[in-house]
Symmetry: C2
């Protein structure tokens, strides 16, 4: 199913995790420290990395930036016995996708894996958008403003949108609106009202347009 990397210095727990995940049909590579995880990531692109927090050498959290540099789309789950709210928050701030507390049973492990895959799936689909046309569309402040207005007002008629953005020449605005449509960020619903597409919503959320 998924390609999973495990970094865990406790040999017993490690083999246990490998067994659980392989039994479920996942392809697993297990190592005993963060440095080995990084080099493993250089040779194979994993879907998920389960990183123990405390290991000899680098911690799991410290390795996050390295792993993500090698593979931007890897889901990183920090696993630790000594999880407090503070350590969990810190791990998330540093770029972890989730935090699991030891001990956990097989069901909890598989559930965590499943959820991470589902969450990454959203991002994967958003990456399939045409970066060229999206960036070109965002290069214009008028179009960024249009996207933002559509984000707040959800659905708007042509002239209302035009006035909100502050363009007096409607035909000029029409040009930019068509550019947004062509880039796949904006669409018209059945009653001709303009709304954001799903990619448009994604872009709006992730790009902090200014």
């Amino acid at each position: 199913m998924a390609s999973i990397l495990i970094a865990e210095d406790d040999a017993d727990l490690r083999t246990n995790m490998v067994d659980i995940l392989e039994l479920e049909g996942h392809q697993v590579v297990a190592v005993d420290c963060a440095e080995a995880a990084i080099s493993a990531c250089q040779q194979h692109t994993f879907d998920i990395a389960l990183m123990d927090l405390l290991m000899p050498g680098m911690t799991g959290v410290e390795a996050i930036s390295n792993l993500r540099q090698l593979n931007p789309f890897i889901a990183i789950i920090i696993v630790t016995a000594y999880a407090t709210v503070d350590t969990a928050v810190d791990a998330m701030k540093k770029g972890a996708d989730s935090v699991m507390t030891k001990p956990f049973n097989a069901g909890e492990l598989l559930m965590g894996i499943k959820r991470s895959i589902a969450e990454k799936q959203l991002l994967k689909s958003a990456v399939n958008i045409d970066a060229d046309s999206v960036y070109a569309a965002l290069a214009n402040p008028l179009r960024r403003s249009t996207l933002k207005q559509l984000g707040t007002h959800k659905q708007l008629k042509f002239m209302d949108l035009c006035r909100l953005v502050g363009v007096e020449d409607h035909t000029r605005f029409n040009f930019h609106l068509r550019q947004l449509k062509k880039a796949g960020l904006v669409q018209q619903n059945e009653s001709k009202v303009y709304i954001l597409t799903t990619t448009g919503q994604f872009v709006l959320q992730n790009h902090n347009l200014s």
Copy 2:
């Protein structure tokens, strides 16, 4: 100092927090539910929102998307007595900037505020970049590739960079490199080697270029 919004249904704790923060010179607005916090955010732009998790009506986490839509740069701290690792991770996934556990003393509260301000400061400085030129620069796949290569190799000479990106015509590549320089994403150090600027590094981290 900072403009802070507090949403907390426990009246005693609320006035206590207000006292602590006002004593430190902050400007504080306090409300008793998430809905009131949202409407307060419509009338004033706060730097920080301290949101209780469990309140009558909407939870603090549920309000996050509303608050952030009204003010993309607000730092949202979820405050709760019943914080587990799971609830903290969930809050972070939903867009919280940090999670604090009750009870806390004045020092912990002020420290949390201070840290959030510092972290947001980084983002604020990155927002000062000229969005027009940055997006225009990113609109070209050759330039995105150049940025990525500079991100991994840290510093590169002109021809090495040119070959890595896969352009045979160096003068054409030179054009795009200059565009990147003009957009403030790339610079040359004292020995003429090309490196990313801080804004370049920021863009590379936050934009998941494809």
